[in-house]
């Protein structure tokens, strides 16, 4: 899952990025609303975490702007303002959730999970497809009750495919959601990971969980 963090205080942005990366999210950071806009329009994010008080363009104006631009990505606002009025203003601008600083990082990650669940119409923190289960909190995959060891990248790819269960996920989409913007999309590295995953996850009947839809992408079905 790819997350954009907008925060002008570099140290705050940096610890949020580090913390979220430990949770196996891919994180891009920007230091003001304008930079944020560019990134938002050029990449597809699963979630945006934005500070309110930023130079050039504040968080609330930023959210209004992207909503006007048709972007429906969930937005979590962060701010030191804790008055009800500013919460209302923040949520009314089009944001989905609100967290006041200083916050507990655990709470931030819980809210991130909640927002991502809501976005994908999922009710639990465990994604399932047949015998396959993916625990989004413990970051563990299991097949027929047996744990399957995954590398972080494999985990991210599997998570994205499971979130979009029964849909065809294109290679570009996968790249966009499991890599941050330092990734060179020209390589076939995705195919390599998909192959590795396929080998780890095989049904009893020998059918792979991940199917290749020729010319379109990949898909996991129930």
């Amino acid at each position: 899952m790819r997350i954009l963090v907008l925060e002008d205080e570099k140290k705050v942005a940096s610890f949020i990025k580090k913390g979220l990366e430990e949770e196996l999210y891919k994180v891009d950071t920007a230091f003001n609303g304008k930079e944020g806009l560019e990134l938002t329009y050029s990449n597809e994010y699963d979630l945006i975490i934005s500070d309110i008080m930023m130079p050039f363009m504040n968080g609330i104006d930023y959210v209004r702007e992207i909503r006007k631009g048709g972007i429906t990505t969930p937005v979590l606002l962060l701010t030191v303002k804790d008055s009800t009025k500013s919460k209302i203003e923040g949520l009314d601008s089009g944001a989905d959730d609100y967290l006041t600083k200083p916050f507990l990082f655990e709470e931030l990650t819980a809210r991130v999970r909640a927002l991502l669940r809501r976005k994908d119409f999922i009710k639990e923190n465990i994604l399932k497809a047949g015998e396959l289960q993916l625990d989004l909190v413990a970051h563990k995959a299991s097949l027929s009750g047996e744990e399957v060891m995954l590398t972080p990248k494999e985990y991210s790819i599997l998570e994205y495919l499971l979130r979009n269960k029964n849909k065809i996920v294109s290679r570009t989409k996968l790249i966009e959601h499991v890599y941050d913007y330092h990734f060179d999309s020209g390589t076939n590295v995705i195919d390599v990971y998909i192959n590795k995953l396929r080998n780890k996850l095989t049904n009893k009947d020998g059918k792979p969980f991940i199917r290749t839809v020729r010319g379109m992408g990949y898909s996991i079905k129930d």
């Binding site: 205080e9 140290k11 600083k101």
Partner: protein, 476 residues
């Protein structure tokens, strides 16, 4: 019940009523005494002048006609001595003849007594002095009388009149007083209560309203301030006091809010970084990195708190300047040398245009701090690779130091406010400048402590100039 009674007796209302009645009683008594003595005095004086004029007339009558009362012989006109004397007396008698006592004496003894004296004799002290009139109040057969003795050549005339009537009248007056005084006393207590109730009921209202006022409803005012009397003034004074308290409470609230706000960013960083560091095991380098960053944030918080303290101390005049004379251009150069490194990080250059040989008497530590804050801002908000220009010169008895940068500038409507301690021109300013959001307020405090002024001139998206003006007369 006992408590309420106690409250009643200690209440101002009761005390005022009592005082009122007491004063009334005293006045009443004084009036009574004055009336008593006035009437006594006036009626005695009237009596005196009457008996005196009678005595005079009798004496004159005797002396003018050269009667020899001792050797009187009855003749065709006066068949007796009494008849002769009465003839004289008649001319003079004013009062009731029956009540007027007349006694005429020669050197040899009493020669005439009016009939009503019967067996009595008025015992008057004898004297050889002539024409002396004496009044006094002896008793004649238990009746108080007023007496006038007039001495002539050979005779003395005593005219007396009973004073029963006067005494009766005064007695009546006393009786009247004894009836009226307690009555009036009771009425005056009641009146006192009415008056004190009327005036103090407004005090009760004030007490009621005042007791409701807390730090949270300081907006409310005590009613009754539009009366022009003492209570009105009291209410106005209290309302003014509430206004002042409200101001300082608001100030304190703003202050603590600002302090909390300033501290939130470093606390967010500390909390987040520590939390993530503790979540899973990290490399040694990573821990060092986190500690390093934590240390920086701790320093930032100390700086924020120092700034807040400085501002509130300077507002209470608790800061003592430690002035010492320095050569301004040398001093500025040393300040700028420390900042050059910071500027270089953003590719910026600091150019100096300083007048030489200006000696200035300042607290170098504080002025350095003020300049540091301004230059630091100029670097942070300036365009990368631009130049910051610092000039100093003496203009009409004043020392001017100006710092100009090229940057986004400050919008005109915000220029006035940037020195307010709770104001941020750009909402994110505090965060970015690491708590130096208070920096400009500190600058203002420092310069004003030196008797100078600081102002800013900004063309948005062009240049911003901070000018410090220090008075020359402050210099030694």
């Amino acid at each position: 019940m006992i408590n309420r009674l106690k409250l009643f007796f200690t209440s101002s209302r009761f005390k005022i009523a009592l005082w009122y009645a007491a004063v009334f009683l005293v006045l009443e008594t004084i009036l009574g005494v004055v009336i008593y003595f006035y009437i006594l005095q006036k009626s005695e004086a009237a009596l005196d002048s009457n008996i005196e004029s009678q005595a005079k007339a009798i004496l004159r009558g005797i002396e003018e006609k050269h009667f020899d009362l001792e050797t009187f012989q009855p003749d065709s006109i006066y068949k007796s001595k009494d008849e002769l004397i009465w003839d004289i007396i008649y001319d003079a008698i004013v009062f009731n003849r029956r009540n007027t006592f007349i006694q005429i004496s020669s050197l040899a003894g009493v020669v005439f007594k009016s009939a009503n004296l019967v067996g009595n004799e008025i015992k008057a002290e004898q004297s050889n002095q002539n024409k002396i009139i004496k009044y006094y109040n002896p008793k004649l057969s238990e009746h108080p009388i007023r007496l006038c003795i007039l001495r002539g050549r050979g005779y003395s005339v005593i005219v007396a009149y009973p004073t029963d009537q006067i005494e009766q009248m005064l007695g009546l007056l006393n009786e009247l007083y004894l009836i009226i005084a307690p009555l009036f006393f009771i009425i005056s207590i009641a009146g006192g209560f009415v008056i004190s109730y009327k005036s103090l009921s407004r005090i009760d209202k004030i007490i009621l309203k005042t007791s409701e006022i807390t730090a949270h409803n300081l907006k409310e005012i005590i009613p009754g301030g539009n009366y022009k009397d003492e209570f009105g003034r009291l209410v106005n004074t209290m309302n003014e006091m509430i206004g002042r308290i409200k101001k300082s409470v608001e100030y304190m609230n703003e202050f603590s809010l600002a302090a909390a706000h300033e501290l939130k960013t470093p606390l967010t960083i500390l909390r987040g970084e520590i939390e993530i560091a503790l979540k899973s095991e990290k490399s040694k380098e990573r821990y060092i990195e986190v500690l390093q960053s934590n240390y920086e944030e701790t320093l930032r918080m100390i700086r924020i708190i120092d700034n807040l303290f400085f501002i509130s101390k300077s507002e209470k005049d608790l800061i003592k300047l430690e002035r010492c004379p320095v050569e301004l251009s040398t001093f500025l150069k040393s300040v700028v040398d420390n900042m050059k490194m910071v500027a270089r990080e953003r590719g910026m250059y600091i150019s100096l245009n300083l007048s030489k040989d200006i000696i200035i008497n300042i607290d170098t530590g504080l002025i350095k701090q003020a300049l540091y804050n301004i230059i630091d801002n100029a670097i942070k908000y300036g365009i990368e690779k631009s130049t910051i220009e610092i000039t100093s010169k003496e203009i009409s008895e004043k020392i001017n130091i100006s710092i100009t940068n090229s940057g986004c500038g400050i919008e005109p409507d915000k220029v006035e406010k940037i020195f307010d301690k709770f104001y941020r021109a750009d909402e994110s300013r505090t965060k970015k400048s690491g708590g130096v959001g208070l920096g400009l307020s500190v600058v203002k405090s420092i310069i004003e402590l030196h008797g100078g002024s600081v102002f800013v001139n900004s063309k948005p998206n062009e240049t911003t100039t901070f000018s410090i003006s220090l008075p020359k007369e402050e210099l030694v």
